[in-house]
């Protein structure tokens, strides 16, 4: 298994500059947060997005499998799954056997699979392609992420979009503000440091370098995030004793599993925090060798985390407004390499799950396995069409300014409210 984990991929290319990250949240209480979240203008607007990034280039053909296609078996030989192995969706397509929970969601019509998603002139570099998906700009490097720009337009409060990764992904960096990176373990401060110290060191100082100002702002963010998270977790304990022992606080940030990230999202949603966008991730999908076993293990962890989360979400009204979107920077080459792995490819599937999803459907055809673009699948749906649908129907936002005037949109992905 190629453990080039992309989980902590971030800004390595310098694509997201310091100017994008001048966030500075004041201190709010949970009471303030709830007041905004339960605003009377509830409509599509009070749905919540959980964006799941799979770093490393998840193999779409090993996730949503065209098991009846002869060309698939010809190209994949030992890597291919046959009809008896897959979880059948129809007489041509099946899910990877590791995705039992997602199959149940599909059967309950709460999972839609958009096929053949990509962008023109696909880039097969992990970093460049992930930049493209996160900035939603396939043409040139951009300084902001698409959800960061949404944040710019949606009130500029860092707590509207939070990342449960140890470092903030570019997708949440806007031009005038950025989402907050929330530590999974909750906030802990050593005895030598008092709350008064935090407030003092978090004050802005005239004329200091921008990065130094950003370092100071972390202190202020820490105080407000602390309030948000601890109150969310306290509320979780009160409301749902079954989840009181959840490992939401038990796993260290850098090593956090996808499930631990989802546990905190669940606690926040149930507590009714103001956060509208959660970013979670899992790395380890770059299988240049020994793919079949490794991929199945990876997908099982995704499956357990996503389906467990949505099962829990089904129990509350707020939870039933949560939409999970799963994507990766690209799929893999159609033909297996001789190491029983696959090299970097192009078009792949985007999974959209949750009660508000018009699910139980495959959207768009499987791209041809014989009519290829230099050995790779030809995409037919631009990923910005999916983003536009998410912005409109999940976040209740106008996709125009966020997606640089992009006009495409995948209609009917979400149930109307």
């Amino acid at each position: 298994m190629d453990t080039v984990t992309r989980r902590k991929f971030l800004i390595a290319s310098g694509v997201v500059g310091g100017a994008a990250l001048v966030a500075g949240a004041g201190a709010y209480t949970l009471h303030d947060v709830l007041a905004t979240a339960d605003h009377p203008s509830a409509g599509p607007g009070d749905r919540t997005l959980v964006l799941v990034t799979l770093y490393g280039g998840n193999d779409g053909l090993a996730t949503v499998i065209p098991y009846a296609d002869r060309a698939y078996h010809d190209a994949r030989a030992d890597l291919a799954y046959d009809a008896a192995e897959v979880l059948r969706l129809d007489d041509r397509t099946g899910l990877n056997p590791g995705l039992k929970g997602l199959k149940a969601l599909y059967d309950r019509k709460q999972l839609a699979i958009v096929r053949g998603v990509g962008y023109p002139r696909p880039d097969r570099s992990h970093f460049r392609s992930m930049d493209i998906w996160q900035t939603a700009n396939p043409v040139r490097p951009a300084g902001t992420g698409w959800l960061g720009r949404w944040l710019d337009h949606a009130g500029r409060d860092p707590r509207s979009a939070i990342s449960l990764e140890p470092v903030l992904p570019p997708v949440l960096a806007g031009a005038t503000c950025a989402g907050a990176a929330v530590p999974l373990g909750g906030v802990s401060v050593p005895k030598a440091v008092t709350a008064a110290d935090l407030r003092a060191l978090g004050a802005a100082a005239d004329g200091e370098p921008e990065l130094q100002a950003r370092a100071a702002a972390c202190f202020a963010d820490l105080l407000s995030v602390d309030q948000l998270v601890t109150e969310a977790l306290d509320a979780d304990d009160d409301d749902d004793p079954d989840h009181g022992d959840d490992p939401a606080t038990g796993t260290g940030g850098a090593q956090a599993t996808l499930k631990a990230q989802f546990d905190l999202v669940a606690a926040c949603v149930e507590a009714g925090v103001m956060t509208r966008v959660f970013s979670v991730s899992q790395g380890g999908f770059d299988f240049h060798a020994g793919e079949k076993t490794g991929q199945e293990i990876q997908l099982k962890t995704v499956d357990a985390a996503v389906s467990g989360f949505l099962d829990r979400m089904g129990r509350t009204e707020r939870g039933r407004k949560v939409v999970v979107v799963v994507y990766s920077e690209f799929g893999r080459r159609v033909r297996a390499n001789s190491s029983d792995g696959t090299d970097h490819g192009t078009a792949s599937d985007v999974l959209i799950a949750g009660a508000p999803v018009a699910g139980g459907r495959l959207i768009g055809d499987q791209p041809s396995l014989t009519d290829l673009d230099d050995g790779d699948l030809k995409f037919h749906t631009d990923f910005r069409d999916v983003y536009a649908a998410v912005l409109t129907d999940v976040l209740g936002a106008d996709p125009g300014p966020v997606l640089d005037g992009w006009r495409g949109r995948l209609d009917g992905l979400l149930l109307s409210t």
């Binding site: 989980r7 390595a12 929330v182 030598a192 110290d197 792995g341």
Partner: protein, 433 residues
């Protein structure tokens, strides 16, 4: 004679954190001589070498071992890797040739190979030795050595790349991340370069890279504007590209200069200094004496390793025993553990390190460092009134000036050296350089 502020700026960037005495000494000398002394240090560094591991307990031997032996070997490999990482951190603290050591760390983030997959202290230590031997001077020697480096080959599946079944992983990252940068090549070039690299495989018992002619795709493979038949001719071809010195200059700039784009004039001077001899030292020396570099104070965020190793050096805390384990654990939690970069792209830079999570870890590590303060340092910080103590900790940590905000916070803690140190280490002023 250079001014003290410039000397401090230079040493903050070119070392793992200068002591006050080092800054005083540099400020008393000619600035050009100081840079030359950093870039071309004389003689061998007397600092203790990294540990050498006689036998590799795990790498490549799993097939021969029972389940229990495998688990034991895995544990032994993990212990060796921890031992190596701690040894390297101690070396960063103690090395006289600070810039040479920092370059080894730079290359580790550039040819970013992780023990996560390689799982062998022998191979990881071997790669570090290659950085040490070839990390200065002619880059071609480094590139060719790396294409034979067993850790890199294994990390990027080079041993699975054969004439009959190409695996493009190493070829792609060689062009994208190690020599040229994105956009300077096409998919066709990746495929052809992968063929030029075929034939290299691993002797897993010896932990060495071996060339097997039978697995090599013979012939000339068309890459970019030329052809390559093997790893060396591919390296020569890539390093001849105009994009190469420009790419390397900006990698060095982002690491030693600023997070802002490399100014054209500075880039041109660096590329000229690199020259046809591909002299990395000359390129870096040019960067460090450039007026744009001199104006770049405060434009880089200290990476966790720089932050922690710098604090150990400046406070005089010995990087051994419990402290070493605490520091290693802290930088792991901040997201940067030596020998385990997160991906082949290396570690992030800039604001990526300035998050609420990493602040929390920094606070705990700072408190641990404050508690481990040697008597001499504690005594130094117990002299005079509060204002004198706040100045003293600033001088100790090579902070040019405290803002009013931080000065007020430190003044409130000045009565207790450990608390003073803790707050100074987590201050916004100490987070950047």
């Amino acid at each position: 004679m250079a001014d003290r502020k410039l000397a401090a700026h230079l040493l903050r960037r070119a070392t793992f954190g200068p002591t006050a005495a080092e800054i005083d000494a540099a400020a008393a000398r000619d600035h050009g001589d100081v840079v030359a002394g950093l870039v071309f240090p004389k003689g061998a560094d007397p600092v203790a070498p990294l540990p050498v591991f006689a036998a590799d307990p795990y790498f490549g031997r799993t097939g021969m071992l029972s389940r229990e032996q495998r688990a034991q070997a895995r544990r032994a490999a993990r212990d060796q890797l921890t031992h190596l990482a701690e040894g390297w951190l101690a070396r960063m603290v103690r090395a006289d040739h600070q810039l040479a050591e920092k370059l080894v760390f730079f290359w580790h983030g550039h040819w970013a190979t992780s023990a996560q997959k390689v799982n062998s202290a022998t191979l990881m230590a071997g790669q570090l030795a290659t950085f040490r031997a070839h990390g200065r001077g002619d880059f071609a020697l480094l590139a060719k050595a790396m294409l034979r480096d067993p850790a890199l080959i294994f990390w990027l599946d080079g041993q699975r790349n054969t004439a009959r079944g190409p695996n493009e992983n190493l070829a792609r990252e060689l062009m994208e991340l190690f020599t040229l940068g994105v956009g300077a090549y096409t998919e066709k070039d990746v495929k052809a370069a992968a063929r030029a690299l075929t034939g290299w495989t691993l002797d897993r018992d010896q932990g060495t890279a071996v060339f097997q002619p039978k697995r090599h795709a013979a012939g000339e493979h068309a890459v970019l504007d030329g052809t390559a038949r093997d790893a060396d001719s591919l390296a020569d071809l890539l390093l001849r590209q105009h994009a190469h010195p420009v790419f390397l200059a900006s990698r060095l700039w982002f690491r030693f200069g600023s997070g802002a784009p490399l100014p054209d004039a500075t880039r041109d001077r660096m590329v000229a200094a690199y020259g046809s001899g591909r002299d990395v030292s000359a390129m870096l020396g040019t960067l460090l004496t450039d007026d744009q570099f001199e104006a770049s104070g405060g434009q880089l965020v200290k990476q966790p390793v720089e932050w922690a190793v710098g604090a150990l050096r400046q406070l005089g805390v010995a990087p051994t025993g419990k402290v070493a384990a605490t520091v290693l654990n802290a930088i792991r939690r901040m997201g940067q553990v030596p020998l385990r970069p997160p991906s082949v792209g290396g570690w992030p830079a800039g604001t990526a390190w300035l998050t609420t999570s990493s602040l929390q870890v920094r606070m705990r590590a700072a408190a641990a460092l404050g508690a481990a303060l040697p008597d001499a340092t504690a005594d130094l910080l117990a002299r005079g009134d509060a204002a004198a103590r706040v100045d003293a900790i600033g001088r100790l940590l090579a902070v040019d000036a405290w803002t009013g905000r931080t000065r007020a916070a430190l003044t409130g803690a000045a009565a207790r050296p450990q608390r003073l140190v803790t707050l100074a280490l987590i201050s916004p002023e100490y987070a950047v350089h």
